[in-house]
């Protein structure tokens, strides 16, 4: 009996000795899946995180620069006020006012080169600069939600280390515009009338979304870089370009400017921000 028991033990150990390297080798294939059984078992991917956002307000002065403009560029100055319910979720408002508005080279070229005659009378002011009839973005107000799925750190030249987060934002934008007023319809001035080239105010409602990076230089201050899209239709040049013909893609006869002349534009801008978070100290996760 004793020999039999010893034999069984020997056989079991032999099997164990042979299988041990095989089992151990299989676990080698997945380097990231460490079979943790110690105190780190079940622990989160990152611990002792500075929770820069959770339970804090962020007030950030911003400067935004429009991109890929055809006729007029705008620089908007404003601010962003946000409250982060969680470290990964915030609600807030971004608002900015178009302070600087400059014409593009195309606008200047049209203003100086284009002939003023009967063929262009409805689209170019007879005496004024063409830039004066191009549309302007005067303000933007956007209630929005910010989602912060990624946070980490960045090393620059192995010298400077900054905590960084990447976020997505989305909301509804109320965009104040000044664009050429309607003309050519009953009760409206003729589109060849110089008065018809004056700009009228309008508010466009558009979705807004984008992504950004925040670089935390301390618990109080952060530097932000953000991309924002504001797709909506507007008549940027003040032309009568749509409304009749095949699919309505030809000018009206006689000329008429209305909302059909507003063409879709995927408006884009880059924003830089200086964030101030309150209260001044951030919590630290477990």
């Amino acid at each position: 009996m004793r020999r039999f028991v010893t034999f069984l033990v020997s056989a079991a150990l032999t099997t164990g000795a042979l299988l041990a390297p095989v089992v151990a080798t299989e676990s080698e294939a997945s380097a990231q899946e460490i079979q943790l059984t110690g105190p780190l078992a079940g622990a989160p991917a990152a611990r002792k995180l500075r929770l820069y956002r959770e339970g804090r307000f962020e007030l950030a002065p911003t400067a935004s620069f429009t991109l890929l403009d055809e006729y007029r560029r705008t620089i908007l100055f404003g601010g962003r006020l946000q409250y982060h319910i969680k470290d990964w979720l915030g609600v807030g408002l971004w608002g900015a006012y178009g302070v600087i508005s400059s014409t593009t080279d195309l606008t200047d070229q049209i203003g100086t080169v284009a002939l003023r005659n009967s063929r262009t009378a409805a689209n170019l002011a007879p005496n004024g600069a063409f830039g004066d009839q191009t549309a302007k973005m005067t303000y933007v107000a956007a209630p929005q939600i910010t989602f912060v799925p990624f946070r980490g750190k960045l090393a620059i030249f192995q010298k400077i280390f900054v905590d960084t987060d990447a976020y997505l934002h989305g909301g509804v934008a109320f965009v104040g515009l000044q664009e050429r007023g309607d003309c050519g319809a009953a009760g409206q001035p003729l589109c060849t009338d110089p008065k018809s080239f004056e700009l009228a105010s309008r508010t466009a409602i558009a979705p807004t979304f984008g992504l950004g990076l925040n670089f935390y230089v301390g618990e109080l201050l952060s530097i932000g870089l953000e991309y924002r899209a504001l797709p909506f239709s507007w008549n940027r040049a003040g032309f009568d370009s749509r409304g009749s013909g095949n699919n309505g893609k030809f000018p009206n006869v006689p000329p008429k400017i209305d909302d059909q002349d507003q063409t879709f534009k995927f408006n884009q801008m880059i924003t830089i921000a200086l964030g101030i978070s309150l209260p001044t100290h951030a919590k630290v996760s477990d």
Binding site: R2, S10, Q32, A46, L49, W88, A114, P149, P251
Partner: protein, 358 residues
């Protein structure tokens, strides 16, 4: 197991007599083998390879401490030769003394014994303490994805960021070799032919203002580049996983083949593609999905001198003048083709050995 012990025998004596010798030794050897197999296989579970840890030499004698014996002999007695009942993990050879003989007084052993004049003195040690050492310790060692001496193959899709008038999308391929972890030399090429798109905006603008904007289309671009990687970091995604990324700047020189799209006189003008010298500079972001596979996003500005179509009025020109190619081109203008390049990076070889410890 005491009940199996012969009556009147002490535990030590029982061990020293060691019955059932062959089977018992085999059993214990297998147990040790199993344990050692696990122990030796354990490092394979680490995510990072261990660097430089050499196996510890076997301790000798009782002075080594921590010695494990399954069946230790009685204190002061050598194991009984041929008894076959003792298995020890760290037992020195029977002929090996328990401790090495002490060095003679006044000799340091080693170099002091061979050449007393070279034996370090107290003053030498003090001088050595003050000596500046170039310790290769970096802020971050064993970076997740090393680039040094690896090839990067980067297929991408390019699309213009400032092409309101004519879009220039196209596939491209970049290949870089990293001379060091932060510096690479490489080439890239983009094919635009057949993919240029003249937007509705051009037509509508011409129709409304009777002003023609000269347009150009691209055929291909190629460049020799240098890449510098000053920034890297890592992100925790959803507090659940971690991914690494780096940011780089890139610049170089090459050529871009372009031609005007005839707008002013499409009936007579038919332009051919011509390569022009193009300088480029850009920024890129690379997100590592594993140690050899990454997603890339790059914004690069290709700067070149573009030949535009002649926009002078055609009125009054003869047919011969209209067909004269010398009259087709107008001004040259420094042009910026800013394009985004979204792609994937594959690093070769796939694996490497870390030089620095973690």
């Amino acid at each position: 197991m005491d009940q199996a012990r012969p009556a009147g025998s002490s535990p030590v004596g029982y061990k020293r007599r060691a019955p059932r010798s062959a089977v018992r030794i085999f059993t214990c050897a297998l147990a040790l083998g199993a344990g050692l197999s696990f122990a030796l296989s354990a490092p394979s579970a680490y995510a990072q390879k261990r660097g430089g840890a050499k196996p510890k030499p076997p301790a000798t004698g009782a002075a080594a401490g921590g010695e494990i014996e399954l069946d230790a002999p009685a204190a002061g007695q050598p194991p009984a030769a041929g008894a076959g009942g003792t298995v020890e993990l760290d037992q020195p050879a029977a002929a090996t003394p328990a401790t090495p003989p002490p060095a003679p007084a006044g000799e340091g052993g080693g170099i002091c014994e061979i050449d007393p004049s070279a034996c370090p003195k107290q003053a030498d040690i003090k001088a050595a303490q003050n000596k500046t050492i170039n310790a290769e310790i970096y802020a971050v060692q064993q970076i997740y994805a090393l680039r040094a001496r690896r090839f990067e193959v980067n297929p991408y899709w390019a699309f213009g960021l400032n092409d309101q008038f004519v879009s220039h999308p196209g596939p491209g391929l970049a290949a870089n070799y990293y001379i060091s972890n932060v510096l690479a030399v490489g080439v890239n090429g983009t094919l635009y032919a057949g993919l240029n798109g003249d937007s509705d905006f051009n037509f509508e603008n011409r129709r409304a203002t009777r002003v023609a904007v000269p347009l150009n289309e691209y055929q291909w671009a190629a460049a020799l580049n240098f890449t510098y990687v000053p920034m890297y970091g890592k992100f925790a995604g959803f507090s659940d996983f971690i991914f690494h990324y780096d940011a780089y700047i890139v610049g170089g020189v090459g050529a871009i083949s372009t031609r005007p799209i005839p707008v002013i006189d499409p009936d007579n003008r038919n332009f051919s593609f011509e390569p022009k010298v193009a300088f480029n500079a850009g920024l890129g972001l690379r997100i590592f999905l594993n140690r050899w596979f990454a997603a890339t996003l790059e914004v690069r500005d290709y700067i070149y001198n573009e030949k535009l179509e002649n926009t002078n009025p055609l009125i009054g020109q003869t047919q011969q003048q209209l067909q004269d190619k010398n009259n087709w081109f107008g001004e040259n203008r420094l042009t910026n083709n800013v394009q985004a390049q979204v792609g994937l990076s594959i690093f070769l070889p796939f694996s490497w050995e870390y030089r620095l410890p973690k």
